[in-house]
């Protein structure tokens, strides 16, 4: 089962972890991305996220398909938060269950990389003290890399 959600609500690692839990699997690996309080010496007040929602979910489904081709996984949950995400709170939680830990550990690392490369979600970083705001770009964005290479 793939559980893919875009939500404006705070994310709960406990409940997402329980969603992927299964009595016949012994491993749950997860990754939690949170809002940091600074970026290159500038104080971050909050992040604001927006998404091309339908396409984001579609791209997440493709990621799940690719993960399942490579690893033996039970459940995959990918939750991305939209709207304002204050400092210290989670913008992304990925949790994956498997019978053997290697599968879910490797799959989680791959999932976050793939999400940062392909899922159409954008982050605006808002700074303190009149420092303004800025749309960010993932280093992993899959066409930024192509542009660099050409």
């Amino acid at each position: 089962m793939d559980i893919l959600r875009l939500t404006n609500e705070p994310l709960s690692l406990e409940s997402i972890s329980k969603e992927v839990g299964s009595d016949d699997c012994g491993a749950i690996s997860s990754f939690c991305g949170t809002t940091r309080n600074s970026f290159e010496d500038r104080q971050v007040v909050r992040l604001e996220y927006e998404a091309y929602e339908e396409m984001a979910v579609s791209e997440m489904k493709k990621i799940c398909g690719a993960l399942r081709e490579k690893w033996s996984l039970k459940h995959i949950a990918i939750y991305h938060r939209l709207g304002v995400v204050p400092v210290g709170e989670s913008s992304i939680i990925i949790a994956i269950s498997s019978c053997h830990r290697r599968d879910s550990l490797e799959a989680v690392a791959h999932a976050i990389d793939a999400l940062k490369a392909r899922v159409p979600i954008w982050k605006r970083e808002v700074y303190a003290e009149g420092g303004g705001a800025e749309w960010k770009q993932n280093a992993e964005c899959h066409w930024r890399q192509k542009a660099k290479g050409s």
Binding site: E54, M55, A56, I112, R118, P120, I121, K123, Q137, N138
Partner: protein, 87 residues
């Protein structure tokens, strides 16, 4: 004149800010490449010029590569996608 179709153009993040709207209607050729379509959109919306070279397009929620050809129909959804920054 090659055939054209009216489509919905979705704009996100910086693109939305530059154009001033999350979506507009626009006429595009029914047969073109990603690069051609991108060029045409910048001509139609010069405000996107500062993003040129960094944004990519999606047609009906599917990424369109610069060298890829696509058939577009009336009512299709085209999206301007600036570099992503999810998670």
């Amino acid at each position: 004149m090659p055939a054209a179709a009216d489509v919905t153009l979705l704009l996100f993040a910086k693109a939305r800010e530059l154009v001033g709207s999350p979506q507009v209607s626009v006429s595009v050729p029914t047969e073109c490449s990603g690069a051609e379509l991108r060029e045409l959109l910048v001509q139609t919306y010069p405000q996107l010029a500062t993003l040129q070279g960094t944004f990519i397009l999606a047609v009906n929620q599917r990424y369109l590569e610069a060298d890829e050809s696509v058939t577009i129909r009336r009512g299709d959804e085209v999206a301007v996608i600036p570099p992503i920054s999810g998670a």
